[in-house]
Symmetry: C2
Subunit: 200 residues, 2 copies
């Protein structure tokens, strides 16, 4: 089983490779320098996924980029559903980085009657009661949760019911979910508390 951190590093390698000249041949040492890790770590990470370089020479940038794009499933677009169109949800909605990396937000949900029916960035906010039907019709596989913590579990269950298989959760709470669902938590407090642990 590949550790999550190796998959995350793959995404960082890809970002570095995208800035380089396509036809260049790159050594694992050079790639390691670009992202601030070691030569051995690069080779170990890539070895999880197959044989890529020409032994003794290195990797062709274009080829390695194509391979990592395929491995990360980025050779297609993943439509995203966002639940909770509040301050954080609205910042994510207008963030160009999502669409640019192939994760365009395509459906919006909220449970505030004052917001349902309003249009934001060309999308009509729908009632979160309709999450299962709408995500299933739109064949959406990824959800982002930016609701208050107490609503996150219910919204997760609704997304799963509609066929969503991956969730990025910003609400600071533990979500119970079946193992088939891949859940990533982005937890501001936990990140800050890890910092204070080291600084104390």
């Amino acid at each position: 089983k590949v550790p999550d951190v190796a998959i995350q590093r793959l995404s960082i390698y890809l970002r570095a490779l995208r800035k380089l000249e396509e036809n260049r041949i790159l050594s694992s040492l050079k790639l390691a320098e670009l992202i601030g890790t070691s030569d051995g770590q690069v080779r170990k990470d890539l070895a999880y996924f197959g044989e890529f370089g020409i032994p003794g020479q290195g990797y062709q940038v274009k080829k390695l980029r194509r391979e990592i794009t395929r491995i990360l499933g980025l050779d297609r677009t993943w439509k995203v559903a966002l639940a909770g169109v509040g301050k954080l949800g609205s910042a994510l909605l207008v963030y160009p980085g999502l669409r640019e990396s192939g994760f365009p937000i395509r459906v919006l949900f909220d449970n505030d009657p004052a917001k349902i029916g309003k249009v934001r960035e060309g999308l009509r906010i729908q009632s979160s009661e309709t999450i299962p039907q709408v995500v299933s019709q739109e064949e959406i596989k990824i959800g982002i949760i930016t609701t208050p913590a107490e609503a996150a579990q219910k919204v997760t269950n609704q997304l799963i019911k509609g066929g969503v298989r991956g969730i990025l959760n910003f609400a600071p709470t533990i979500i119970v979910h079946p193992s088939e669902l891949k859940l990533k938590n982005v937890d501001l407090s936990t990140n800050l508390e890890t910092l204070s642990y080291f600084l104390k």
Copy 2:
């Protein structure tokens, strides 16, 4: 050396403990159930930091809460500097969760002349050229970076010069830093690309 993930779990245990009755005695199994992990994982995590429970009985909630608060350095307030008062920075600025968990934002920096001097949430936006002096005067040890990617390295260097020792970086870029600085990246694209890896 304690793995980062164990420290992050400690912060999640603390959040669960805060919701419980203080004088309760809790078994590691019960604590594990609350956060969706295993009994063995709870004991292994806590063992990194010392002896806490009464063997055969469990942990007293009040005592364990106090211990974890001390271990994470949360028995004090950590003033935070925020650089880049744009869409994401502004959402973080009004987010009550930061102040509530003991990380109040106390200084704001930006390099946009139209923003410098403006007041947001009672704080005057200062020029990012003054970062080293201001964070040093205010004895700020934690910085949050919500600038564009191309400004993040420069801002990091300015924060380090002012004595900041921990940084939470939201800009999607690799930051080169001395090992004494503790840096946590919150990278939306990497999180989403980890999801697409599993869903493909």
